[in-house]
Symmetry: C2
Subunit: 275 residues, 2 copies
């Protein structure tokens, strides 16, 4: 999917909601546990309930890997079930070099390889340019590079200032923009503090940000919208548990929570989205 | 596997060789392509040929993932086939936070989860302490943390000096040693330059290093042995393609290449291993 198709979808649905499919078979409502493939059955119900309000789905790959080969089958079926006009993110945080990175890219981007056909993948920057470049060889596919996260460990290395006083996350964002255009590169921005939101938008004015820290993790959707929206919206805001585990009946409960976020997003689009 | 068992194995085999199972179905000899599970059949032949000379096997997870659910089955069968006294490394370079990192740990460490029972996993440090800690909760399992790699992109962030003039890779190595003991933490050290080998051994005197850059990637095994061996050997030196793709007949060709490296390692143990 290219950026224009993504922006069109955001404008049509009046939403920049990404639903995180962190599906844990131990946490899903009991009625799904009797299905042949409980993870897929639950995902189907969540997708049916939220597809009108979400512009992206983000399976958290760890949750599928942890189930072995069966988990990968559930993931394949989930990917086939997601409507083709909705953006998909493999939240995999891969990062390796050369031909290994290319293998990971094939895994998630080339359906002839593993059966998966994601639009994008989250990637870790530590190994530098040649760990990112192989993902960029695929047309209309996106790298979503880890930049500034909101977990306690983000202070260990991401915030470290270099001898020219540039924090590591800023170096990552600036250097990565010399590798790829905003048509193929997004950043993971977990920041919820206003000053950081303003800073990262200044560093990367044109890139989409994937923001994982709203909802259960406590960020303010209004702050994110006010300080990090750009002239192409430039935001995908994720909610996982708050939507998928909203209650025993996804058709009602997940739908209600997704709609609530979509309606809030719609008001922020009115307020802050200036084309 | 604990460190004493690993050191015992190294002393017994007079080898610190790790064989990288980067098995690509397109590259294996044609006779294996007719098998029901070509990847597993090839791995079996390589393991049979090299188990006397290797103290560790390192499947490169990308190569299995790229094949979809079938690849994970080949990986499971390979893991069951590896003799239980040989150390195993999931070269997965995972890095995510909290419950997601714990899911990755379960994937590779807990056979009740995905069917895999690795001794160790390679982990990326960018997200900091809480992306590493979940892997440390498993007894006699190891984190092998990316520190200094030898790819061109290693200069992008790993070499960046902080305002106190400490390069990022050194910060990673020093901070990580406050999180975990040398009984559960190794580092990936791709360095082959003598000054870097001396430096990283000074930074982490007691940790094992996994060194991927010898053989096809051109590092000097003697330099690594001379400058980075410690009083518990402290080295696992990997060779992948140079062994597994040594010829059409792994029983002869892979065996010959593994034995050659083992014999070279034996002379370096004589020369540089001082308990």
């Amino acid at each position: 999917m290219n950026s224009q198709q993504l922006v069109n979808q955001i404008e049509r649905k009046r939403s920049f909601l990404c639903v995180g499919l962190d599906t844990d078979p131990r946490l899903i409502p009991s009625k799904f546990k009797q299905e042949a493939d409980p993870v897929f059955a639950f995902n189907q119900a969540v997708i049916d309930a939220t597809a009108d309000y979400a512009v992206a789905y983000k399976p958290n790959i760890a949750f599928y890997e942890a189930l072995g080969p069966k988990g990968w089958e559930s993931l394949q079926k989930t990917m086939e079930y997601i409507p083709s006009d909705i953006f998909t993110i493999a939240d995999a945080k891969r990062g390796d070099i050369g031909n290994t990175a290319y293998m990971y890219a094939q895994t998630f981007f080339d359906p002839a390889s593993s059966g998966l056909n994601f639009d994008s993948i989250t990637v870790a920057p530590y190994m530098g340019h040649d760990s990112v470049e192989p993902f960029l060889r695929f047309e209309d596919k996106w790298v979503i590079l880890l930049a500034l996260t909101s977990n306690p460990g983000s202070h260990d290395f991401q915030m470290t200032k270099s001898e020219d006083y540039i924090p590591m996350y800023e170096r990552v964002m600036r250097l990565a923009q010399t590798w790829a255009s905003p048509e193929e590169l997004m950043f993971v921005i977990g920041a919820t503090r206003v000053d950081f939101l303003q800073k990262v938008r200044e560093i990367a004015p044109d890139n989409f940000f994937l923001v994982p820290g709203v909802g259960a993790q406590g960020g303010s959707l209004e702050d994110v919208s006010r300080y990090a929206m750009n002239s192409r919206v430039g935001l995908l805001v994720n909610s996982s548990r708050g939507i998928i585990y909203a209650g025993d009946n996804p058709a009602v409960d997940s739908k209600r929570e997704a709609q609530k976020l979509q309606e809030e997003m719609s008001t922020y689009l009115d307020a802050y989205y200036i084309k």
